[in-house]
């Protein structure tokens, strides 16, 4: 009785093994089922979706103008203190003092890509870029100033 059970157990195990091996063989013969991506060789045609959150950027137009008014809504919305907006006062053509962004400091090393700053921005000045390869040799390089030097606020953005 014991011997019979023992042998049937072994037979069952070998049967299961063969069943699994049949699957393996099937995949060996159907190479089109393989889904391996050859990263980083396929970097150019990876095609990340446009909503993918990689890092916060501030788009500038051809005249080196951005849409950031320096209202610090993003700074308040950020849960980690990733964003620090340093504002300054500019005197416009009519001689009025107006608040403007001096430096938009963004700490990529603290960012969790939660998208709350982009949701909070009233003028769509910042957006998420699809870049995800962030490794650098020096940590200080992850602290970025998003507004370019000599950039101004775009006309008509309040």
């Amino acid at each position: 009785m014991f011997l019979k059970e023992y042998i049937s157990d072994i037979a069952g195990a070998v049967g299961s093994l063969l069943k699994g091996m049949r699957r393996t063989g099937w995949y060996f013969l159907h190479r089109e089922e393989a889904i391996t991506q050859q990263y980083p060789d396929n970097r150019d045609n990876m095609g990340l979706p446009e909503r993918f959150r990689g890092e916060v950027v501030m788009p500038h137009n051809e005249q080196n103008e951005h849409r950031c008014t320096g209202c610090t809504a993003c700074e308040l919305a950020c849960p980690n203190g990733t964003i620090k907006v340093v504002t300054k006062f500019e005197v416009n053509a009519e001689g009025k003092r107006k608040k403007a962004v001096d430096r938009f400091i963004y700490h990529l090393e603290l960012c969790t890509m939660c998208n709350l700053c982009i949701e909070a921005c009233p003028t769509d000045a910042i957006k998420m870029a699809q870049n995800f390869e962030h490794s650098v040799y020096d940590r200080s390089r992850l602290t970025k100033i998003l507004n370019r030097p000599e950039s101004r606020l775009q006309e008509g953005v309040e």
Partner: protein, 371 residues
Amino acid sequence: MVEEIGTTEQGDLVINVGPQHPATHGVLHLVITLNGETVKKVEPHLGYIHRSIEKMCESLSYRQFIYATSRMDYLSSHINNHGCALAVEKALQIEVPERAQVIRVLMDELTRIASHVLWWGAMAMDIGAFTPFFHAFREREMINDIMEETCGARLTMNYMVPGGVMFDLHPNFHRRVKEFIRQFHKKLPEYDELVTGNAIFKARTRGVGVLSKEDAISYGCSGPTARASGVDCDIRKLYPYEVYGKLQFEQPLATEGDTYARYLVRMHEMRQSLSIVEQLIDNIPEGEFQAKTKAVLKPPKGEFYSRVETARGEFGVYIVSEGGTTPYRIKYRSPGFSNLSALDHAVRGQKIGDLVAIMGSFDLVIPDIDR
């Protein structure tokens, strides 16, 4: 803990598994007392991945704290966020639009499938079968791609906001989910062929790590772990939230309470989640995806509790509000912690080789246990 290291009784051996051990799937530290090959006691030591999320959330506003719960049970991060959003909505009495509710439930179920698929691969790997791991990642990748396209991230989506969801569905969403349903229907029998019906797998899991119904209740187990012991504990059935009350789905139950029963319950749950996705994908109502809310959320003074069913069990969020912009106290009831407490009971008297199989069937996610 010094006196516990070494032999406790004549012939007993105390060994440490973890915190850096491949079978614990994270930084879980188990102190195991062995008598020969038989496990006498398992003592989990926590604290290696404590990030003080509860305390951290208390300094954040009601919009901000939701993201942090993604870092607890990272495999069902969307469902965790859902629980938080529900609690905030309960406090502020926000009516969530029907479309947002359906989107939330759809994403919940996709997350649940992704989590269970990954568990299936990891469980088979714990037993010693390596191939299923790759098969599991193939299907999980499809869900991750869907998530990436609509939510903007693969794991820590932060797609929930109080009052709805952050963005509307991506135009490709419907097509890709349909594609996934077709693919998953084709691959589920393959899963069964590879692992469920495997004689070696059955021999390793049947009658191993039995948790009786009484023990499962008294240890506070929830989710598939408790349902495999016959405890009727699906929050989606017992306290339906969002549109779950209108859906047709079963709550898989088993009575054996062993490792194989826990395996079968999870396999069955995947099929049920798939059927929920099938029911909803063609019936997404039109309308708003987010209710209009104030810029600064200030719930009234009081205590609010909400619970959701994650892939591992009941996740509860308890908020005490003092009427300010930040919560006074937040407590999370995570399923992993209670499920882990039953591990000692299930493992006692078993062989050391079965410990990994039992632990795999509990589906522990360590950052969820130790938040």
